[in-house]
């Protein structure tokens, strides 16, 4: 057990009037202008914001102590399916923090930012090679952002061809929630198709929607069941013949990186989650990066700006520059160049692995998942009895006879020093528990996880209530989400009951 860490008060509760941490430079200019002399008083802040007033030692202690109330990849195994919680190399953080990157203003003239531009250009080439796509935009901030961009590209593509009846996007019922949400955000009607007995997309249902209204089909491969869509080329054929586009949700690329390429499968447009396959840290929820790749015919629609390389014979080496996209571009999808700091990390990860390293990454990721699946089988059978890819979705109904849900097993895992798997996703598997060990977990960690599951199942048989009480070893006990949502308390107020000091 660690050093006692009591519940940490809110930083506002540590506040005392008149305390302060950071000092600022003195005003050093002669006859300094003052806002109150120049501006109407109504424009000026009437009451200072109730930010905390604390000393620097307290700030350090507060956030240090808060951090200790988190589970993280750096503290233990985090088999959260679909999220690829692999080890995040420390060197990548160091490199992203170099002055030449962290201190580079986005409006720097291209000539003075050649290193950053070269990095972006090389990264784009790398991603093209790994996916088979012809061009990438590195701007999207996350997977869902990439999906939106992809859907807007699909929309622009059909519009450009005068094909404006195509307002439908098909997604599998097992799809990640961002897929339908992104398609809807791009103005499409979303149609769900089912999953067949082998766990693949139901090809017949796809055929049923393969008509003049089909704009695109979104697929992840391996899919959210962790299974490879073996009929992906048939799907592509059906979609393409109907005039639609095939979108690849690259969230699961970790299973096949360096071994198979979405473009070869027939995908026209894709996003990648650099914070998954390319190991950039998840930062408690972000930032990530969700670059979008397209085949040649879709490249005019990419958002801009884009990095171009020119080989200048006069100069030693190539020159790089930002270029505006053409008139067919969907337009801008964010103010600046992308989550550059994340891109630096992904770039470094690719350089450190090389092509053969990345191939090993997927090999070991899939090996780990299958090994875990085999060890879990006595208690948590896989949803489908096939070789799985980088993750395995299990059926958590084993606990049901004891009146317990998948959630209970998850909470009991927390008590044993593991993060829980993803619960209740995909929606089509009852009591789904989705485990993704990743390639960076040593074998004995995988074995320990399986053993912990076995222990919990045994405990559930003996004493289901003990499992229902879990977790008890965590910073707080089981949190009542429902009641928190019923009467939402979304911020602290200076005094109890004071709900509108802003008014």
């Amino acid at each position: 057990m660690p050093v006692p860490d009591a519940p940490e008060p809110l930083i506002f509760e540590r506040s005392r009037p008149g305390r302060r941490a950071l000092r600022l430079p003195e005003i050093d200019v002669p006859e300094p202008s003052r806002p109150e002399d120049d501006l109407p008083s109504g424009w000026l802040r009437a009451r200072p914001p109730a930010l905390p007033e604390v000393g620097e030692p307290e700030v350090v202690r507060h956030f240090t102590r808060l951090s200790r109330r988190n589970f993280a990849v750096d503290t233990g195994m985090y088999p959260l399916g679909s999220c690829t919680m692999k080890y995040n190399p420390k060197i990548n953080d160091t490199l992203a923090g170099l002055d030449g990157f962290a201190g580079l203003h986005p409006s720097a003239p291209d000539a003075l930012a050649q290193g950053a531009l070269a990095l972006l250009w090389e990264l784009e080439q790398d991603l093209c090679r790994l996916t088979g796509m012809d061009a990438f935009s590195l701007q999207p901030a996350a997977g869902a952002h990439g999906e939106l961009v992809g859907m807007l590209i699909a929309s622009a593509y059909h519009r450009a061809r005068g094909d404006s009846a195509r307002r439908r996007v098909v997604v599998p019922d097992a799809a990640h929630g961002t897929n339908p949400a992104s398609a809807a955000m791009a103005g499409f009607e979303v149609v769900e198709v089912g999953t067949d007995a082998r766990g693949g997309i139901d090809l017949e249902q796809v055929r049923a929607h393969a008509d003049g209204r089909l704009a695109a089909l979104m697929l992840t491969n391996p899919n959210t069941l962790g299974l490879f869509e073996g009929e992906v080329r048939e799907v592509a054929q059906v979609v393409h013949q109907a005039g639609g586009l095939l979108y690849y949700d690259g969230a699961n690329l970790n299973a096949i990186v360096g071994r198979a390429r979405p473009a070869d499968m027939g995908f026209d447009v894709c996003h990648l989650n650099l914070h998954k396959t390319f190991s950039t840290p998840h930062g408690m929820g972000g930032p990530g990066a969700g670059p979008v790749g397209v085949t040649r015919r879709l490249s005019p629609y990419l958002p801009g700006p884009l990095v171009r390389r020119r080989d200048v014979p006069a100069v030693a080496g190539p020159r790089y520059a930002w270029d505006d996209p053409g008139p067919e571009s969907i337009g801008r999808v964010r103010a600046l160049h992308g989550n550059f700091g994340v891109l630096v990390r992904a770039y470094a990860y690719i350089r450190a692995n090389g092509g053969s390293g990345l191939r090993e990454v997927s090999g070991h990721a899939v090996l780990a998942a299958n090994y875990l699946a085999a060890l879990l089988r006595p208690w948590l059978p896989a949803s489908h009895d096939r070789i799985c890819m980088h993750e395995v979705v299990t059926d958590g109904r084993a606990l049901a006879p004891h009146g317990l849900r998948a959630l209970d097993l998850c909470k009991a895992l927390l008590d044993r020093g593991f993060h829980a798997p993803t619960m209740y996703f995909p929606l089509i598997v009852p009591e789904a528990l989705m485990f993704e060990p990743t390639e960076t977990e040593p074998r004995e960690a995988i074995e320990a996880l399986a053993a912990a599951v076995g222990e919990i199942v045994a405990l559930a048989e003996r004493d289901p209530e003990a499992v229902r009480q879990a977790p008890t070893q965590t910073p707080v006990g089981r949190v009542d989400e429902a009641s928190a949502a019923r009467r939402p308390v979304l911020r602290w107020y200076p005094s109890e009951g004071d709900r509108a000091p802003e008014g």
Binding site: L10, S33, R34, P35, L44, R45, P48, V59, V60, S67, F71, A72, V73, C83, I91, D93, L95, A96, G97, L98, G100, S107, A108, L112, L119, A142, H176, T178, H275, H282, G285, G286, P287, G288, R332, A335, H337, F340, G341, A352, N353, G354, G355, S356, E360, H364, C410, K411, L414, T440, R443, Q469, R478, V479, E481, A484, A485, P488, L490, W492
Partner: protein, 437 residues
């Protein structure tokens, strides 16, 4: 057949581990795990990405790329919505802790109280700054936050128009238009006064650095339209909270509050709104609740808005957000406190006005918009903006962005002291004299 043991840098296995795992599975090699992939989809050789670099070689290679960004070494007076502020050491020291950096979305609140409490504190700070009661855990950046705010207004009002006050950052406006096009959103100018206006968008200070009269601008909005204000949050120790000037939704780019320039990202979109918009807000929201023992605990809440539950009918598609950036902002604002934030604003204000005074004494240089009040940034009318930017870079100063042939922006944060401002003015005077000669 592949070698069993890994050569890749971050794989923990020894050859024996791989062999044992394969044996348990009854498989001959790793390749066999991919037998479900149609053979012709399988690459037979590694993708050619050049050799794998050991860490020292990697550090050297990437270090050279970093070193080639000479702009990072210039004294930075560049602005345009992104500012070179001093980043206190505490922010990095704390935010880099592995427990923050390598955790993900707090799906299991019992082991994510650190993340959740930070988010709750962040929401409180945003709510305080903006003067609006409900804030979210954050969005990708300021521009996408603005787009989400406009989409939310569209959904809330059922209307299709968005009216922009003059001076909205053109790139932000472009993002709104990209997001909006799919939903049939029509961009208007504020003075179009159309009936079908979902939202009026005001930027404070505006793209040219001008302090605008938010209250007056919002007062001009058609009835029923929401007032959306995009604000530089670092001014809010000095300027009134837009929520107290009639805004229904306020968004901001969080970069000026403790995030590095980083060539454009990762940054952070801040958003807060009126209470009655709560269930329309995009992205994560953290709430306070209780654990089984009645102890205070924090938890993601109102998730029924979100894509993983509501799917195609979600208020937004956002999943992975910018939580770590929100942590940095929370630490930064904790260090500053209300007094620090006010001082920060006043210091930038004083120095920017001093700089404007010096620069406009240079022949051929004047404020692009004379007489308008400005905060820490202003648009400068100069003979030739591109070439001036280049010449200033050669003299050691980064100015810009260039916004048209004769205009560029100058921003002066608390990080630029008087000596640097004097140097800027002297250099610009010399550059223009030399160019004139």
């Amino acid at each position: 057949m592949e070698e069993l043991g890994p050569r890749a840098p971050y794989l923990p296995h020894a050859p024996g581990d791989v062999a044992a795992m394969l044996a348990r599975l009854g498989l001959p090699d790793v390749e066999a795990l991919f037998s479900e992939l149609p053979e012709d989809l399988r690459l037979s050789a590694p993708v050619d990405l050049g050799p794998a670099l050991d860490e020292a070689s990697l550090a050297r290679r990437v270090g050279q790329l970093a070193g080639a960004n000479t702009a990072a070494g210039l004294i930075c007076f560049a602005g345009g919505g992104v500012y070179d502020r001093y980043l206190p050491a505490v922010v990095q020291a704390l935010a880099q802790r592995g427990e923050f950096l390598t955790a993900y979305t707090p799906y299991q609140p019992e082991v994510s109280q650190g993340t959740l409490q930070v988010t709750f504190e962040f929401q409180t700070m945003v709510s305080e700054l903006f003067g609006l009661p409900v804030a979210t855990a954050g969005l990708y950046d300021g521009s996408t936050a603005l787009a989400e705010a406009v989409l939310m207004s569209r959904a809330a009002t059922g209307r299709r128009g968005v009216a922009f006050a003059s001076g909205v950052h053109p790139q932000w406006r472009a993002v709104v238009e990209t997001y909006g096009q799919a939903q049939g959103l029509v961009a208007l100018d504020l003075d179009g006064h159309a009936d079908d206006v979902a939202a009026v968008v005001v930027q404070q200070p505006d793209y040219f650095g001008r302090i605008v009269d938010v209250e007056a601008l919002l007062a001009r909005r058609p009835a029923g339209a929401l007032g959306v204000v995009a604000v530089d949050p670092s001014t809010l120790g000095v300027l009134e909270a837009p929520g107290r000037q009639g805004a229904d939704v306020v968004v901001a780019e969080g970069q000026p509050l403790g995030l590095p320039l980083a060539y454009g990202g990762p940054y952070l979109g801040l958003m807060a709104a009126r209470d009655d918009l709560l269930r329309r807000l995009p992205g994560r929201i953290c709430g306070q609740g209780r654990d089984a023992a009645g102890q205070r605990a924090f938890v993601l809440t109102l998730q029924a808005r979100e894509q993983h539950i509501r799917r195609a009918r979600a208020t937004s598609n956002v999943c992975t957000n910018q939580a770590w950036c929100a942590l940095a902002v929370t630490i930064y604002l904790s260090l500053l406190g209300p007094r620090g934030l006010a001082e920060l604003g006043r210091l930038g204000y004083a120095r920017a006005h001093y700089a404007a005074g010096l620069l406009t004494r240079i022949p051929g240089v004047r404020l692009a918009i004379a007489g308008a009040p400005f905060f820490h940034e202003f648009a400068l009318r100069v003979p030739e903006a591109e070439s001036l930017q280049a010449a200033m870079a050669a003299a050691g100063f980064l100015v810009g962005p260039v916004i048209d042939r004769h205009t560029l922006l100058i921003a002066v944060t608390e990080r630029r002291d008087r000596g640097e401002i004097d140097g800027l003015a002297a250099a610009m005077g010399k550059v223009l004299r030399d160019a004139g000669a």
